[in-house]
């Protein structure tokens, strides 16, 4: 559907620490997809990579004003479009219709 924009996307797991991206789509299905949607990983949302645990596996992401840790295998299945994300995720009330 968004084939023309797809060239710009990277996987969430490849964002550097502090890097921000706008979710383009989730590549998984089933309950895991549902779960991530429930936690706020919805296409269009800005995600900022936060803390990385010592072994680099779970990584915490700022999403919609809260922080959620994802396994690498999960972050590998989320496509994002890197962006500046000036306001992304910080506990400041969340992006207001960041269009």
């Amino acid at each position: 559907m968004s084939a023309s924009e797809a060239e710009q996307t990277v996987l969430l797991s490849s964002l550097p620490r502090g890097g921000a991206g706008r979710i383009v789509r989730l590549l998984m299905g089933g309950p895991e997809r549902r779960r991530l949607l429930d936690l706020g990983f919805v296409p269009g949302t800005i995600v900022v990579s936060g803390f990385v645990s010592p072994l680099g596996d779970p990584t915490a992401y700022h999403v919609r004003g809260s922080m959620t840790s994802l396994r690498r295998s999960q972050a590998d299945q989320i496509e994002v479009e890197p962006c500046s994300g000036a306001d992304g995720g910080a506990p400041s009330g969340g992006p207001k219709d960041a269009a």
Partner: protein, 278 residues
């Protein structure tokens, strides 16, 4: 019962309780028989549901600042204007569509427990994530109250929540609260009574138009579900989950345990770690 107050506790808690001296308090309620209305207390993990529960009932259910503390439901009772309410404190849930066992307890009660009022407690500091559940609840019922808790904490973080605008947009009563200090409690009680007695009715937010083909399948499935489970509330919701292949709903529908979370989980004491009990 663990709910009974320990004698060494002192009574300072009672005096600082926002309900102290209120004529509306008859007795702190464990006596849950013969109530007029049933209230379900739902919300994301760690939004202060148990604090709201305690504020309403005058009980002292264990409150802790970590998610997942309430793993089964706890019940209590309170009165508003002479009407007796039974209130059920549910485990935290991000969604009605999830598969963890404590979230299923919450889901089953909201969907199949026929609560007269569902109070959704949301965290004012993370509204976006919290409103997911609120919307899901408003999708299935017109008898809900949205309690925006932790307003004090939000203010400290520089977050301003326009509860009026939110109420207008949601079409449901929205009550700003800081349950820890009792702020918003009278308004919450008024809203609960209003919804219970039918003077307040929420706008239902139906799922978006699914198209004729899906609707037709959905209607057939709903009928089949009702044939198997006569009188099951929210049969359409169940059919929708079956259609999308939700593993837990499919399993429950298959082995006849749909809504069974309602029975068997009832506890009349606060949830504690089951291992530490003995």
């Amino acid at each position: 019962m663990r709910l009974r107050r320990g004698s060494g506790d002192g009574d300072s808690g009672c005096q600082s309780c926002p309900m102290a001296g209120s004529a509306a308090v008859h007795r702190p309620g464990l006596s849950i028989e013969g109530c007029d209305y049933v209230v379900a207390l739902a919300g994301n993990p760690n939004t202060g549901k148990s604090t709201v529960f305690n504020a309403l009932t005058g009980l002292r259910q264990h409150v802790g600042n970590w998610p997942g503390k309430t793993v089964v439901r706890a019940e209590g009772a309170f009165r508003i204007d002479g009407k007796k309410f039974r209130i059920v404190d549910l485990p935290g849930a991000y969604s009605l569509l999830s598969n963890s066992s404590d979230e299923e307890v919450a889901r089953d009660f909201i969907l199949f427990g026929r609560p007269d009022v569902t109070v959704v407690v949301v965290d004012a500091t993370t509204m976006e994530r919290n409103l997911n559940l609120a919307l899901q609840v408003l999708e299935i019922t017109d008898r809900a109250v949205v309690a925006v808790n932790l307003m004090d904490e939000a203010e400290r973080k520089g977050i301003r929540v326009d509860t009026r605008a939110l109420g207008r947009d949601l079409g449901a009563p929205v009550v700003p609260m800081a349950a820890r200090s009792g702020l918003g409690l009278p308004e919450l009680r008024a809203a609960i009574l209003g919804v219970a007695s039918g003077t307040i009715q929420c706008r239902i937010h139906p799922a978006p138009d699914l198209g004729a083909e899906v609707e037709a399948s959905l209607a057939r499935l709903t009928e089949a579900v009702l044939a198997e489970y006569p009188g099951l509330p929210n049969a359409r919701w169940v059919a929708l989950r079956l259609l999308e292949g939700d593993p837990s709903v499919v399993r429950e529908a298959r082995n006849g345990t749909l809504g069974d979370g309602l029975h068997g989980h009832v506890v009349d004491e606060p949830a504690a770690a089951p291992t530490g009990a003995s």
